[in-house]
């Protein structure tokens, strides 16, 4: 089975603090990491390969330094990688992003399964996976939390829903997006790390994908950011005082007074 995994480089928010005044992230010196949800996508791909055999290609789009996430993927045991990088890709919304990713996956030839993380933690849109599926004309199942059956031509997966889950059969080729329940990512292997060090990441730009400059990046996007502002954090913040019993009672009184808690009904 040939599996393509889409991964994204995002700022690592693990070690940053919120500025208590402005409630924005203090981002100085923040390192870049593989989007946490994409680690679950890589793990799912590795497990499927273990069950059904085949080859895994990790694909990312980003600035040249995003090649580090491909090297990370190689370290986890992925076979090949591909970096899509071009000044023309800058400022892409999800429509322009899927344009490039879908072309790249097409170019890999005979991909049976595309796996994406459910969303990226910097954008939180969850749009790229289903968008790629539509562009490639593949069926998709989003928010996959587990696998019941893995075969060459079909999968049976569990799809997370708001009120439980669905068991869904999908014929391959297809696309899935995964949530963390698919399994904790394994640590990179020593062998993988050695290979990652030597691995030269192949790179493609818009022209290599057969895309015009106005189909990608900011120019190829439908949406446009017109305003950015800090979220308002309304209401005063206060610390209660007294014994634990008193504070427990005080907070309930305050919530009732402010009609956050309704006593009736």
């Amino acid at each position: 089975m040939k599996i393509a995994v889409c991964i994204k480089q995002v700022p690592d928010t693990a070690n940053v603090k919120l500025d208590p005044e402005t409630h924005t992230l203090k981002r100085e010196g923040v390192e870049s990491i593989v989007n946490p949800f994409d680690l679950f996508a890589l793990e799912a791909a590795l497990r499927i390969k273990e069950a059904a055999g085949g080859e895994i290609v990790a694909v990312t789009m980003g600035p040249p330094q995003a090649e580090t996430v491909i090297k990370d993927a190689i370290g986890f045991g992925v076979d090949e990688g591909l970096l899509l990088s071009d000044r023309a890709f800058a400022g892409a919304d999800t429509w322009a992003t899927t344009a490039a990713l879908a072309k790249a996956i097409e170019g890999l030839g005979d991909v049976d399964l595309v796996i994406c993380g459910k969303q990226a933690v910097d954008g939180d849109t969850a749009q790229v996976g289903p968008g790629i599926a539509q562009r490639l004309g593949l069926p998709h199942v989003a928010f996959v939390k587990g696998f019941r059956e893995i075969e060459d031509k079909r999968l049976v997966v569990e799809r997370q829903m708001d009120d439980g889950y669905d068991v869904v059969e999908l014929p391959l080729p297809a696309l899935i997006t995964v949530v963390r329940e698919v399994g904790e990512p394994r640590p990179p292997s020593l062998k993988g790390k050695m290979r990652a060090k030597k691995y030269t990441v192949p790179m493609q730009g818009a022209a290599d994908l057969g895309l015009e400059a106005d189909q990608v990046g900011l120019a190829g996007s439908f949406t446009q950011v017109v305003k950015v502002f800090a979220p308002s954090h309304s209401g005063e913040r206060r610390r209660l005082e007294g014994s634990e019993d008193e504070m427990g009672a005080q907070v309930i009184d305050a919530l009732v007074d402010n009609q956050v808690i309704m006593l009736g009904s």
Partner: protein
Amino acid sequence: MGVIIDKELCIGCEQCLDACPFDALEMKGEIPVVGDTCTLCGSCADVCPERAITVPEVERAEDDRAAQAKGVWVYAEVRGGQMPEVVAELLGQGRRLAEQLGVELGAVVLGHGLDGLAGELFALGADVVYAADDPRLADFNDDIYCKVLTRLIAEYKPEVLLAGATSVGRSMIPRVATAAATGLTADCTGLAIDPEKRLLLQTRPAFGGNIMATIVCPNARPQMATVRPRVMKRGERREGFEGRLITVSLEAGDKAATQVLEVVQSLEENVNLTGAEVVVTGGRGVGGPEGFKVVAQLAEALGGVVGATRGAVDSEWIGHAHQVGQTGRTVAPKLYIALGVSGAVQHLVGMQGSDTIVAVNNDPNAPIFDVAHYGIVGDLFKVAPAMLSHLKQLRGQG
């Protein structure tokens, strides 16, 4: 691509660096330079005291859809014969937008056995209901749902399409936007109309809720948005209102490639964090699975849902489905109570949009207190029972 900085006018004050939400500016000597992450949002130009920054216009392909499109649509999701609460909220907001634009409000409902739902949609504010009732739509499969909705968009050309940011909406609507070749803004918390340009102003949290961004889709139609549950207000019910019902038939060749074999409403998974009005969360401070009992008791007394931090979930004190935060669910309930939660940034970004936040922690320096409206420094195993007993007393149950 990027904003243009006039080196003659720039005084090197660096205010633009702080204003940039995308970290796209960097000082090279005395002058800022623009990096690849610039989206031309204009935040830097707004703060520049010397007006040294200009935002270039982006040349976009001509699109005549804006002139033809008319009407506001809501996608009315159905699951197990029921419409989630967000459908009423979308129709309430859709009604307000439609009135501002002077157009009709349409609701699209897809499924099987939809009797009675059209009447409910009229009562909730729809002028027109487009209903496709077919056995092939009995289960939710993205591809066939997408195909039917995209066909309706092509035929009736709405200018706005709203859907709930639910599991179904977040899976299917991105596919529809791609099929319809238009823009989509995910997880909106604010929607308004720019009356001059007739554009939908779509506001959403970005970077885990640390900034808010307002996004437009200037040329392509429909302007599509998924909207967070429990943000918009439902409208006045119009009992007995009869709008136009348009019955939609599927084509002979329509068939889903995927097949739903089983629908499981599991107890463990049935934690509707995103839709909850009250969330009571336990962190590492609860000490173990036993400690979640008091969390659950308080949640139950308040009609809420139990949340957990990643630390508590990773320690296997409670299931993944309860996790709030960056790798779990993002919540914005009316009331959020954090018990023994220290407030790692990954947790804060998943809950700081809550209306009222109460935090109980024995560490007075815990970061959770920075976002808490009511901070209680103390032992949660004393404070939470005190809250419970006082609540019972006020309700006359004590």
